[in-house]
């Protein structure tokens, strides 16, 4: 026992190196997947507790419960919405509007993806949309790939617009008490501009596949017949009206509260209690066992573990050198924003952006609070948000939603290879970052 205590004391000088090593181990597990990332985190945390690098009280204080409750709340809202088939019903109505025209289909699917991604997790949005997209396009004799690629790209762009659209925004928003409307007010211009430019690029690239077919009766006929089949298939599935209406109304109220926050309470509470309220209101229709099984506890544990690891790095001073480097080289918010935007943006295509953003938060917070950076410090946070979200378009492994699309599509016979996506995804990421740069430059003038 004494020998063990002595050992613990002797390695006290190496706490910083040990914390960095464990962080590298965890990030490697995320990238190379040789072990489950939550398991890797649990092992590191357990050992760090054993080595007294932190104690249990400190560990609890490191966890940002605001973020956890916000994520949990949104997961509950999304799960109830999915279970009620409200999203499927909405998608069928949207599909009917296209009247079989490939260009309108392309536009509406892209717009739907963008809109849903602003409020729901990208992964959920894609899980609902991908089978529908492939089903419709294949029945119409269209190539599903342009539609799927556009959806992948716009799910990441849409997710950048709101506090809850992407986990990285949840981290940034929680750390800085940014409200739902703060994100929208500060990001709608760059996101709208990027959307407009990228949609134009995709239209030009895929024009041959998506051009209108008003002079080809056969294709119009097949398209309309496909729509009729999809509508019939949907009508044959059982939908509980009461469930859909209750979900739609309560979802609308939750979203309104998130955006306008009339009672000036934490967004995390709105999301969490909104989820609980929706669960209560739809209790007659929900299978609670299935509901709780479908909550992504793995992701919540991942975030908890991430907060602890970053907290430990902060505690042992491992992040201070990064802060010193940044403060030494950059004095204006524009310069700092550019470094953050492009570094995070280009890296996010290949590295998990959540730990990247989580690590940057305790680096940037003291830097921006020190007053050494001139100009509006808030713009730096939005540059981080844009870099992390838009960077996810860089490659198929850039975000979990991208992987979900590729895997689901492959199961349905549509193979999207890494290089196939990279050839369009990476240039689009660069174009998006250029547009974001122009916006940040104008705002910081």
């Amino acid at each position: 026992m004494e020998a063990f205590t002595g050992f613990i004391e002797s390695i006290g000088v190496y706490h910083s190196e040990i914390a960095i090593a464990f962080f590298v181990f965890v990030v490697s597990a995320m990238i190379f997947e040789f072990i489950d990332k939550v398991l890797a985190m649990s092992m590191s945390i357990g050992i760090m507790l054993l080595l007294s690098i932190m104690n249990p009280h400190e560990m609890i204080e490191m966890i940002d419960f605001n973020t956890i409750f916000l994520l949990l709340g949104m997961m509950m809202v999304v799960e109830i919405t999915k279970e009620s088939r409200l999203l499927s019903l909405m998608n069928i109505q949207i599909v009917k509007l296209t009247k079989g025209d490939p260009l309108i289909l392309f536009f509406l699917f892209t717009l739907t993806t963008f809109t849903l991604s602003t409020f729901l997790s990208n992964a959920t949005t894609m899980m609902v949309l991908v089978p529908l997209t492939i089903g419709i396009t294949k029945s119409m004799g269209l190539d599903p790939k342009p539609y799927l690629l556009s959806e992948i790209i716009f799910s990441d762009i849409g997710g950048a617009l709101t506090l809850v659209g992407d986990p990285t925004n949840v981290l940034i928003g929680s750390a800085n008490n940014f409200s739902f409307s703060d994100f929208i007010l500060n990001l709608w211009i760059p996101i709208a501009s990027i959307s407009f430019v990228i949609f134009g690029v995709l239209m030009v690239k895929y024009w041959k596949s998506i051009k209108p077919i008003k002079k080809t009766l056969t294709k119009l006929f097949l398209n309309n017949l496909s729509l009729a089949k999809i509508e019939t298939e949907f009508k044959n599935t059982h939908i509980e009206r009461g469930f859909v209406i209750t979900t739609a109304v309560s979802l609308f109220l939750v979203v309104l509260l998130l955006i306008f926050n009339w009672f000036d309470i934490s967004v995390a509470y709105i999301a969490f209690f909104g989820g609980i309220a929706m669960l209560f209101l739809t209790r007659k229709h929900m299978n609670y066992h299935k509901f709780f099984a479908n909550i992504d506890w793995h992701m919540l544990l991942f975030f908890i573990g991430l907060f602890i690891h970053i907290g430990v790095l902060e505690k042992v001073g491992a992040l201070e050198p990064i802060t010193h480097v940044l403060s030494g080289h950059f004095t204006s918010s524009f310069e700092l924003s550019m470094v953050i935007l492009w570094t995070v943006g280009l890296l996010s295509g290949f590295v998990e952006n959540i730990p990247l953003v989580a690590m940057m938060i305790p680096v940037l917070q003291p830097l921006l609070a020190s007053g050494t950076i001139t100009g509006n410090p808030e713009i730096v946070w939005y540059a981080l948000s844009l870099g992390a979200c838009l960077g996810g378009n860089g490659s198929l492994i850039g975000s979990s939603a991208n992987m979900i699309v590729a895997q689901t599509a492959e199961k349905m016979g549509v193979k999207i290879t890494f290089w196939e996506y990279f050839k369009i995804g990476y240039p689009i990421t660069v174009i998006s970052l250029i547009v974001a740069t122009i916006y940040i430059y104008i705002v910081t003038l």
Partner: protein, 316 residues
Amino acid sequence: MFSKKLLSSASTLFRESEQIVGTRDFCFSAIKSLSSAITTFSGSKEELREELKNMVYLVKNTSPRISLLMFMFFKIKELFFQYLDENPNVSIREAKQKLKFIIEEVRVRRLQSFQKLIKCSDSVIEGGDVILLHDASHSVFDILCEAQKKNIYFSILLAEREKKKNILILRFLIDNNIDFQVVPEYLLSHVKSNITKAIFGAVTINSLHEVVSDAGTGSIVAQMREWNIPVYVPITNDKFSLWKAKEHHTYKTTKHKISDNLEYDKLSFSHDRYKTDLVTCFITNKGLLSAKELNDMYDQYYKDCNYWRRKNEIDL
């Protein structure tokens, strides 16, 4: 004219749609889709004429072919081309309007044909009947609904098969408050004494005097005959197939895997075929017919359609 990919997609779409809603409703949905397509079409009159020819080519070359659909499209094309020949100076707008009117006429005629079939089924179901069902035929469903409207009490014995088809049948029975019991299709011998009659749907009658039906129906029909249980099959004459049937069945082989070392090939057939002689009575739009009467009607219809086949280049 069309790529193999487009024909393959169209075939899959037709087949899957037909499986969901049945042959009749699928054909009506198809001509409704044609009508919607015409509304959106923005080409010239000559382009419309050419496109309609292409449409007929498409429905002729999908696999499997659906005779009612082909019949309706041939009729639409014939009437429209006749109109264009008689009125060469009509505008594209007028031509489109006329085409939509023709489509509606063809639809109504076919609907009337089905309504006649339902009327002819009046005496088929009697009070107290226990009727065996096996497929999700909408013609059969309509006959049952008609009997229900007349307050004739009957119950259903459902020969259980694959889940997808069962759900369609069960949904119909539950939504219409029809009493039913379910028995696995391979254990009907245990309940044969309860069955008073069996009604099965049909996709078509072919030139070999065979009923083409859902997969699995053939063996059940044979069992019913063995046990002297009357078998009824509703079918309108516009569902008769217009071409010479192949002797062999079309099938595909799919691989199935139970475990790492247990893999096997399975033959899958899209339809079943059995001789019309096995059927006690055909319920048609021309009345209740025996197998021989139906065969004679088919032969006459096939001969009358020589003109159609020549004109539309269908294999004789």
